[in-house]
Structure formats: C-alpha cells, structure tokens
C-alpha cells in the first residue's frame, strides 16, 4: 500500500550542527512533496516544498532533496537552533487531486 514514512522517530542534535531528517515514500505517482514543522501546542507550519520535476530546493537555512529513483526525501537544517526543536512531517501529494498524505513525524531535539 501507499505510505510516507520516516526512518528516525527522534533526532537529537547539538546546537549549531546540521540536521538531516529523512522520509521514504512509496507512491511513484506523487508529484509534490512538502515539509511541515509542528511546535508543541501549535498547528503544523509550512517549511518548504518541492515538485517532482526538481531534485533540490533551498530556503532559509533549509534544503529539501528529492531522490525519485529511490523514493526518498530529506530535509536539511543548517546550523540548528533551539527554536528548531519540534516535530517535523513530510507529506506527499499524488498527481491527481490535492490530498496530502503525511508521514509519521520525526521529533528533533536541539541540545544546547
């Protein structure tokens, strides 16, 4: 069946280091991917997205990499800060429609 999943449920990172959050997806028909950040007690907040015709996209301190060959998505956070502590979700969208299927989430803990 289709699934969007994450390899690491919890990631501990030293402040200032780079973080990498991985996500595997199984639906080759997905054409759009998105990363969200959810802080405690809040709704998910958009970080960055990427369409399937791209393999890399950069934002402010974040980079998303898409490898369609192995159906893998990653989010890199440069110089991780305490404010980056949150749960991160990847989500995919199939070519038809607008439904996002979310992965299970990875908790990032930034150690001072």
């Amino acid at each position: 069946g289709e699934s969007v999943g994450l390899h690491l449920p919890t990631l501990s990172v030293q402040e200032g280091d780079n973080s990498i959050i991985n996500c595997a997806y199984s639906n080759s028909a997905s054409d759009y991917f998105i990363w969200y950040k959810q802080e405690s007690g809040k709704g998910p907040q958009f970080i960055i997205d990427i369409r399937s015709n791209m393999d890399k996209r950069q934002g402010q301190r974040v980079t998303v990499l898409l490898n369609k060959t192995v159906k893998h998505l990653s989010l890199q956070i440069a110089a991780t800060q305490p404010g980056d502590s949150a749960v991160y979700f990847c989500a995919e969208k199939r070519a038809a429609g607008n439904k996002l299927t979310f992965g299970g989430g990875t908790r990032v803990l930034v150690k001072p």
Partner: protein, 116 residues
C-alpha cells in the same frame, strides 16, 4: 491577523454528547480540510471541501459531519462522542485543487478534544 482560526481551542465533554468545532479562514482560499491528530502525532485527513463541495471523505464514522456554509468556513459536528474520538483536530486551507501555484496547506491552531 489569524489566517486560519478554530474554536474552541479546548473541548472536554462526556461520552454520548454532540459537539461542534468551528473553522474560519481569511486567506481567500477555495479549499478547506479537517485532520485528526492522534496521541502519537499521526496526522490523518478526514474531509476536504472545495468551494463548499465535499471532495475528500476518508473512512470516517458517519457520526462526523462536516458543514461548509461558505468557502471561508468549515465546521465539524460530531454526534454521540466516544472515548476514541479524543484527539487534536486541525482545520486547514489551501488555494485550490488544480492549477494553483502552491498546494501548501495552512493549518489552524488545533482543537484538543477530550472525551471522558
């Protein structure tokens, strides 16, 4: 200005009761959603409306009934509440279904429902 707002933020009620959660977006979006997030943080879509029409209806008990009076509002009514309904419910909105620049969904702050 709050882009997507939900009321109430917290809702504590007893089994068997009927309750509603309201959602409003001021982004001018055509599409709105309801998600359920369980205690393990898993986020699952329940419903989606596009211009007041139901377009996504996942396998959800029919005790849950969404209502969209206009494209800026999407309410969720739950009948005969059960213990398993306890979760955080998120409303979200996006530009539309097709031909849009972004499929980004904007989420509300969530409503924590506790059924006792």
């Amino acid at each position: 200005d709050t882009a997507v707002s939900q009321t109430p933020k917290y809702l504590v009620t007893q089994m068997g009761n009927d309750k509603s959660i309201k959602c409003e977006q001021n982004l001018g979006h055509d599409t709105m959603y309801w998600y359920k997030q369980d205690s393990k943080k898993f986020l699952k879509i329940m419903f989606s409306y596009n211009n007041k029409e139901l377009i996504i209806n996942e396998t959800v008990p029919n005790r849950f009934s969404p209502k969209s009076p206009d494209k800026a509002h999407l309410n969720l009514h739950i009948n005969s509440l059960e213990l398993g309904d306890s979760a955080v419910y998120f409303c979200a909105s996006s530009q539309g279904v097709t031909g849009v620049i972004s499929y980004e969904q904007y989420f509300g702050p969530g409503t924590r429902l506790t059924v006792t």
